[in-house]
């Protein structure tokens, strides 16, 4: 039995899962994002707000190393995810599995509902039917879609309604068992009721994963995000505690204007 001779160091208040340092992104020399710095903490909902063309989506693409597929996209600076500089990761498949993405327009793949959700486990080599059944039911339930589709799992996912498809893509992202969930303006093509249901889902998911929520709905960020960053014209203008930012704590005049709806 070892007796500690000195008290254990206090654990850091927040574990940082994602660190962005001097990140710049350009397409064919045209800057989309420049000199962005921030940290995302584990198990928080990190909101990114800002008008169109402010570089939010480019940031999400860089995070998942999608520049591999976009030859015109140039990423500079450093992104550290789960302790690794992602530009040094060679197994990008693992990186992308750890980061689930939900797109603005729901993308139900032209496969059955079951196959949509079972795709990620299958890609990693899971063949066991019982195991796949379990994943499908668990993920669809978590995404608040199971009750609506449990009797027609074999019908095409791409023929579901927009709101259902968006929940299907969330279920699909969850089937990757991601460390982090990126949502890119998920409510653009979704009705308000479904939006609220998905927001409830996100609040629950927060306990298991980190969520980065890009949204152009200021109030959605206020409802969900623990901290919020305001992006404008390719740079991060302000970053802070959501509650503080929305209750008069914003310091930059542009942020105040945006939050009050004076532009954007």
């Amino acid at each position: 039995m070892v007796t500690p001779t000195e008290p254990l160091a206090a654990p850091p208040a927040h574990e940082v899962i994602l660190k962005v340092k001097d990140l710049s992104i350009s397409y064919d020399g045209k800057t989309a994002l420049s000199g962005v710095n921030f940290e995302v903490r584990r198990n928080e909902i990190f909101g990114i707000i800002g008008p169109a063309n402010s570089g939010k989506t480019s940031f999400l693409r860089a995070l998942n190393r999608m520049d591999e597929f976009q030859h015109r996209m140039r990423v500079q600076g450093q992104i550290t995810f789960a302790g690794r500089d992602i530009s040094s990761i060679r197994n990008l498949y693992a990186l992308r599995r750890m980061i689930g993405v939900v797109f603005p327009l729901p993308v139900g793949l032209p496969l059955s509902i079951y196959d949509n959700v079972a795709l990620a486990p299958r890609l990693t080599g899971v063949r066991n039917k019982a195991e796949l059944d379990d994943v499908v039911e668990r993920c669809l339930t978590r995404a608040a879609l199971w009750d609506e589709v449990k009797d027609r799992l074999t019908s095409l996912g791409s023929l579901l309604s927009g709101g259902q498809q968006q929940r299907l893509t969330i279920a699909r992202a969850l089937s990757q068992q991601p460390e982090m969930l990126l949502l890119d303006e998920f409510s653009i093509a979704v009705d308000p009721v479904t939006t609220m249901r998905i927001e409830e889902v996100l609040k629950e998911l927060k306990d298991e994963m980190t969520i980065v929520l890009v949204t152009n709905l200021v109030q959605q960020a206020r409802r969900l995000a623990d901290r919020t960053a305001f992006f404008l014209n390719g740079s991060c203008v302000e970053l802070g505690d959501t509650e503080r930012m929305f209750t008069g704590g914003a310091t930059d005049q542009r942020t105040i204007d945006y939050l009050e709806g004076r532009f954007g």
Partner: protein, 307 residues
């Protein structure tokens, strides 16, 4: 021809002061539109004439001679008498060989060009080459076939050499139709797959290929059409004028329908008048029946719209 509302009480008492009464300009535009519609319809109907005429003449003159016996007996007397069985079987052989080579190779090339290739000078060169290959006259393909397959690869004048020549000739068609249908699969599907950690091949296999089936089948139809009908490429590479034996294997020569049609129409003496028509009708029926299968599957694929 429909007419527009007017303010003329004699023509249309109800709409005398209607806000829907047409202005002179609207009358004119409407007339022009009607003229164009009828003009386009007339041109379309005009195009039906040759198709209907060809089929009509062939059926009228050739159908009486088209019997089971004609299809299944061997020709005699240089093709002037007897049936066409050796030519029919030879055509099926050559078309089969052409398909066996051009479909897999063409689809593979299309996958590379659509899913892997970057837009650089190499890809652009390849694309230009494919377009040019499609534009090469079939007689030139025939000469290439002699040089490449008959002599250089030492296939001899054979079903294999003829099939390979047809395959080269039809490759661009397969590549282009497959590539186009892969490009029609929305990019968002690939993005979604890649973001889940799928490799390019997994994405192609699970999402892109299953949704480009109709393009691949279109390629197949076009290959069959051309391979069955072409005469020049096989004349020098594997088809013979007259032979009473079936090809004993891939390295043997054979008669072929298209070449047979050419000979009985032009070169053989004392051919009964109906025979060339019957052979031509058979040729068309072979193409149509092979295509019917592919068209059936394509309709099934298209009927099941996926997004």
């Amino acid at each position: 021809m429909t007419t527009l509302d007017t303010n003329d009480p004699a023509a249309d008492p109800e709409v005398q002061t209607s806000v829907f009464a047409a202005s002179p300009n609207e009358h004119k535009a409407h007339t022009v539109q009607q003229v164009f519609k009828i003009g386009f319809l007339a041109v379309t109907l005009l195009l039906l004439i040759p198709a209907a005429a060809i089929l009509g003449v062939l059926v009228f003159k050739g159908a009486p001679g088209l019997t089971w016996e004609f299809l299944t007996t061997k020709p005699t007397d240089n093709g002037a008498a007897g049936g066409i069985s050796t030519a029919l079987v030879g055509t099926v052989w050559m078309t089969g060989v052409a398909l066996a080579f051009s479909l897999p190779l063409g689809v593979a090339a299309a996958i590379y060009l659509s899913e892997y290739a970057r837009d650089n000078w190499l890809t652009r060169t390849i694309n230009v080459a494919i377009v040019n290959l499609a534009g090469v006259p079939s007689i030139v393909h025939a000469l290439f076939g002699i040089g490449a397959f008959v002599y250089f690869l030492e296939f001899g004048k054979s079903v294999l050499a003829a099939g390979c020549t047809l395959a080269v000739m039809t490759l661009p068609v397969v590549i282009v139709s497959t590539r186009e249908s892969m490009q029609a699969v929305p990019q968002a599907f690939r993005d979604a797959c890649w973001n889940m950690g799928a490799t390019r091949w997994q994405t192609i296999w699970k999402v892109v290929l299953p949704n480009s089936g109709s393009g691949i089948l279109t390629g197949l139809i076009l290959v069959v059409c051309r391979a069955v009908g072409e005469t020049a490429p096989i004349m020098f590479t594997g088809a013979v004028f007259f032979r009473q034996f079936y090809a004993s294997g891939l390295f043997d020569k054979s008669m072929a329908l298209s070449y047979h049609l050419f000979s009985v129409s032009m070169h053989v003496k004392d051919v009964p008048e109906h025979v060339p028509y019957t052979v031509a009708l058979t040729l068309i029926l072979v193409v149509l029946s092979m295509n019917a299968v592919a068209i059936y599957f394509r309709m099934k694929l298209r009927g099941k719209k996926k997004w």
